[in-house]
Symmetry: C2
Subunit: 388 residues, 2 copies
Amino acid sequence: MRIVDIREVAVPLQGGVANSVVSFDGHRVSLVALVSDVVRDGRRLVGVAFNSIGRHAQGGILRDRMVPRVLGAAPESLCGADTGLIDPARVLAAAMRDEKPGGHGDRASAAGAIELACWDLLAKFHDEPAYVTVARGHGRSPVTEGVPVYAAGGYYHPGDTVGRLRDELSGYRDAGYAAVKIKVGGVPLAEDMVRLEAAIDVLGSGSAVAVDANGRFGRDEALDYARAIEGYGLRWYEEATDPLDFDLNRQLAEAYAGPIATGENLFSVQDVKNLLLFGGIRADRDVFQMDAGLSYGLTEYARMIALMGEHGVDRRSAFPHGGHLINLHIAVGLGLGGCEAYPGVFQPFGGYSDGCRLRDGRIRPADDPGFGLEAKSGLADEIARLTA
Amino acid sequence: MRIVDIREVAVPLQGGVANSVVSFDGHRVSLVALVSDVVRDGRRLVGVAFNSIGRHAQGGILRDRMVPRVLGAAPESLCGADTGLIDPARVLAAAMRDEKPGGHGDRASAAGAIELACWDLLAKFHDEPAYVTVARGHGRSPVTEGVPVYAAGGYYHPGDTVGRLRDELSGYRDAGYAAVKIKVGGVPLAEDMVRLEAAIDVLGSGSAVAVDANGRFGRDEALDYARAIEGYGLRWYEEATDPLDFDLNRQLAEAYAGPIATGENLFSVQDVKNLLLFGGIRADRDVFQMDAGLSYGLTEYARMIALMGEHGVDRRSAFPHGGHLINLHIAVGLGLGGCEAYPGVFQPFGGYSDGCRLRDGRIRPADDPGFGLEAKSGLADEIARLTA
C-alpha cells in the first residue's frame, strides 16, 4: 500500500457558540484525505480524518512541514514489514521528522489528522468499521454494545436565558441522553448557579450533570466554584484552571471531593505523565479527556491510556474530548468510559451519523467502513469535494 | 500610533547542520514586519522581528489567525492609554483572541514574532537601541558594558572529524569567545567523550565548555552521560532529556552535581512554573534558557524571569536560547546572565551585526535603532524585500 497524495482543507464550523474563554465564530477544522494506490470499485481508496474540534485548522503546518515529509518518505518505510499496509505509527514518525521535543501545541493536531486518516484507510481496506480495526490493532475486543455518551451543551449564546438552557437540555434528555454537560465561568457565579440548578432540575439529578469552566479560573475562583457546587454531587467538575497547572489541580483535588475532569488540552504522553505525577489525581473518580485528534493521533493516545494504567487509572476513566465519529470509534475500540456529543453545534464535524444508535444513554457506531465520516450529512459533501 | 499592515515571509536557514535530534536542512524562520502609520524621513516606520531559530516558520498560524486578529482589532485597543503608542502586551492579547489555554507550541513562536516586532517598532519610534526601550519598559538600567556570550557550535556535520571540531572551536576562541557549547548524543558516548576532551583541550578548561543533548536521552542514557562527564567540571549539561519531563530533570539534578541547563523548549510561564516546582532546580547553579521568540515574545518572557525571582532564581541564571540580535538586546535590557552566538551557522538570523563588539567574552550591542536587524548583512536584504 502506498500513499500517493495527501489533501487538506480548512472547513468552517457552524454554530457561533462560545464558552467562557473563546468564541467559535470563524473557527475552522482541518479535514485531511490520504489517497492510496489501492483501487476498489474503480476508485482509489482514501483515508479521511480531521483534527478534532476546538484548536483551529492547521493548513500551514500540514502543507509546510508534514505533508511533504510523508509524501517524501520512502513508501516502504511507512508500511508494516509483515503486512505491507500503512502503519499509523510509522506515518506519524515520518510527519514528525526534524521536529524538536516539547512544544505540544498546534503541530499535535496537524499530525493527529494525518495519523487518524491512516486508521480510516486501514479500516476501509479491511472493509470494516474503524472500531474493529482499532480494537484488533490494540489486542482488544470492541465494546459491541456501544459506550455511554453525554450531551455537551449549555454554551453561552447571545441573549441567553435560563429558559433557553432548559429547552436545550430537555431536548437532549428527550433524545435519549442520560447525562449532560454545561459551561460555567462565562457569567458571575450566582448566575451560573441558576443555570446549574435548572440543568439539575431538567435531568433529575446532579449526578447527570457535569460543569466545564474551560480552564478559565484562577485558584480563588476555582475554589469558590468548588465550594458552591460541592453539595450537588455533580457528574464532574471540568477544567477549572489552566490545564498545565498541575499543582493547582492537586490543590483543587484536595479541596473538592467530587470527580474532577481534565486533559483535553494535554497533547502528549509527557504532559499526561505530569498530570498523573503532580496533579493530585484520584484514580477512583477523576476523569481524563485527552483527544487523539488534538494529540498526534491514536498512536500517542493509546500510549496515554497505557500510561494511565501504569498509574492505576482504569481506561474507563477516559472520556475523550470531541464529540464526533472518530472518538466514538476509538472509545468503542479501546473500551473507554464513553464519549461526548455536541448535538446541534460544531457542524459538520460534531455529532454522529444517522446510522449510529443512541439508546438508554449509550451510543453504538453504525457499520459503515472506517470512521463512517462519509455517512454523516454535511461532512459527506466536504469529503466529496476534497477527494473529487 | 496605528499598525496599518503586517507582512511575513518564511526565510530559509543556511547552514545544513544537525544536532542529535533534528537536521536544519530545509528549516525556515518567520520574519515579520509591523508597518505603522508613523512616517519618518518620508517612509513608514516598521517594526521587524523573527520567531527565533529552531522551531520552524509559522506562516500558516500568522496568516490564518494572528495577523487578521491584530489588524481587525480596534486600533486604540492596541495602544497604551497614556502613551498612544503600540503596547506589546495588548498586541499579544489581540493576537491570542479565541485561543484556548494550554498547547504552547507553534503558536507561541508565531505570537512571539509579532510581539517582538512591537518592541523594535517602539525602539525605532524613540530612535534608540531596543535594549534601552526594553530596560525602560521593565524599570531597569541596561547593562551598558554588554553581557557574557558563548559560541554554540560543535554540531554534527556530514563526514565529521575531531580535527574539524578542534578547528571550529579554536576559531571561536581566537575570535574572542571565552566559552563554547558542543552537541552530544548524536554519536555513541565514547565518541562524544573524544569530542568533549578535544573541546576542553582547545578552551583550556571544562568550565569553558558546555554540552547539549537536545532532549534526546532517556533516563538511563542521561545518567550514563552524567557519570561520564561528572569529573570535567563542565560549564553546564544541557537538555539531557525530554524538556517537559520535570520528574526526570529532578532525578538528574540529584545524580549530577554540576549545573544543568534547560528551558529552550518551554514556551509559557506555566511550563516554567512546572519546571521550578517539580524539576529539582538548584537555584545556585542551574541555567534557564527560555527564548522570547519561541514563547509569545518579551511580555511572556519577562513574566518567566519574574517567576524565577519568586522562586529564588536570579535573572543572571537566564541565558536565552537563540544566538541573535533580538536576544542580545533582551539580555542587555533585562540584565540577564548572557546570551549565545552561532558563529557561521543559522544565517542570516544567527549571530550579530558588525557594530556589535565582542571582547573578553562579553558582547555589546551596536547603537542601531531597534534590534538593529537592518544592520546585519544578509538579514538586511530580506527585510528590504519584505518591507519594499
